[in-house]
Symmetry: C2
Subunit: 317 residues, 2 copies
């Protein structure tokens, strides 16, 4: 009897649906025991998967990313902007590793009554982003969707082994920086943003970055991920957050879809970085927003003043 | 007046929706002026994109493929079979080029009320196929779908340059072969099929295949594509078609989702091939189903007796 009751209560405690589980639990469930294959330097949990031998001069980067009608864009949206966004999101992940994009494959699922003009507009946006950032579009698939439009981008890229930046290299007392201004992206920028490829390449050419990722879910969600991957805690200087016009600090920390770079660098390199950045990118802010700290018990479940929380595709209820 | 009327009638003639355009027209519209990027040997229109330098020993293969609830599988289907199918479809395309799979990225979009058990079952199927055929699963994304479940697989692979088989290498008088039995896949096989990786590797190791692809839409749709890519016409020996049990020739030609290999080989190599195949794969039929012919005007729009037509995701009405 006891055993049976125990089993039942265990089963009841397990989340039944994706909404009950939340994104982190889903990812940890589905990635358990994944066959990785040969030469995988980094798999699930990074901005890109990283493939290559330990001594190869270059590593390959692999990324997949989806935008869905009604979730990532609205039906009335200009399809050229949707196409731009779809490819740029994946490009931003290549940037986050210090990489260079190579080739994209596009999967489009749409309703039979979708207008051809909408689809050619979508591809015009994809092609414009591909040309601007030096990626090729080499194939893909079109399929019928009985529901929303679904646009998946799979993207390859590469990075010199020595310049590859992961989330996990941060160290206590590292300075934490972000590019650009944060918050309010949903008003417009989320469809027009510039993936920070040029900035990331310049950074890894001239400085030893310790850890980096791109800001897709907001600093409040993403910095804890970077810190945890690095085995560190963190502090955020709330008064330093570079807010977009009209945004509160809380919005800047939690709105998401900024697609700016979040990175850490040794404190001793800060003056040289700030000076060189201003000369090279005078129109793009670079802001020190915090510091990595030694990991404490409480930093395993970090809290930020006023508890803004970033985006979770399956928020727990 | 004349000009305006001409413009109007032209605009009226252009297809307005995806259903009006049909899949071939959609693909030709969206792939116009695609930026391909460096080192693209083959882009859109092949089973996989092929990347590599003209003298590289190995080329990379890239493939993306989607299965959608209500289109490629039904909601009540065992999720483990859905996962197996999703990865195996992409593996079949790697096989079709004579290649070896490397790394997969999985994109899953599902409703918040989707059961965790369904998702872990799906991944069990994906992992089983990955292990069986030597592919890694190195990353992916989960997102919320407001409609059907979407599962996209992006897959990389490689092939020795000398063993890469395209659709375009067929020559008049080549013998046309298929592996396995055709038709009736929708009854069950479409969720359980075996991608012909081992068979394709054996074929390219021992024989000079001229052209190859995998049968996803049925011989009636796929052989015209292979022949057109090779600048050839074709004849089908209807009486030779290896029909699945209970299937007519018409069904065998047009049902689709067979995921068998369709390839051509010089007529002089046929006896050696047939003898060696029987020894190596005694339980899998290999059948000569036709011949490539010189391209004639009529072979641009090939017709097969009884006009079965293969699968088109956006059939013209």
């Amino acid at each position: 009897m006891k055993t049976r009751r125990d089993k039942t209560s265990k089963r009841d405690a397990a989340p039944k649906t994706l909404a009950e589980a939340g994104e982190n639990r889903i990812v940890s469930e589905i990635t358990r025991g994944l066959p990785l294959g040969a030469d995988v330097r980094v798999g699930v949990g990074a901005d890109c998967a990283v493939i290559g031998g330990a001594r190869d001069a270059r590593w390959q980067l692999l990324k997949t990313d989806v935008v869905i009608e009604g979730v990532h864009f609205l039906p009335a949206e200009d399809p050229r902007r949707v196409g731009w966004k779809a490819l740029s999101r994946a490009l931003s992940d290549i940037a986050a590793m210090g990489g260079v994009p190579s080739h994209a494959l596009i999967t489009l699922a749409a309703r039979p009554e979708t207008e051809m003009e909408w689809v050619t507009g979508l591809y015009a946006g994809l092609k414009r982003a591909a040309r601007k950032f030096g990626a090729g579009i080499v194939g893909g698939e079109t399929s019928r969707s009985p529901g929303p439009i679904f646009l998946n981008v799979a993207l390859t890229g590469w990075v010199e082994r020595q310049r590859c930046v992961l989330r996990s290299g941060g160290k206590p007392s590292d300075a934490v920086f972000v590019t650009g201004r944060l918050g309010g992206s949903i008003e417009a920028k989320h469809l027009d943003f510039t993936p920070r490829l040029a900035e990331a390449r310049w950074l890894t050419e001239h400085f030893k970055l310790r850890a980096m990722m791109d800001l897709s879910d907001g600093v409040a969600a993403d910095l804890p991920r970077l810190a945890a991957a690095s085995g560190c805690g963190f502090e955020i200087f709330a008064e330093s957050i570079p807010c977009s016009r009209g945004c509160s600090v809380r919005q800047a920390l939690s709105d998401g879809e900024d697609y700016e770079l979040l990175f850490t660098i040794a404190a001793r390199d800060v003056p040289a970085l700030e000076g060189a950045w201003r000369k090279r990118f005078p129109r793009l802010p670079l802001t020190r927003i915090g510091v990595l700290t030694p990991q404490t018990k409480s930093s395993a479940q970090p809290r930020i003043a006023d508890s803004p929380h970033g985006h979770d595709h399956f928020p727990q209820r």
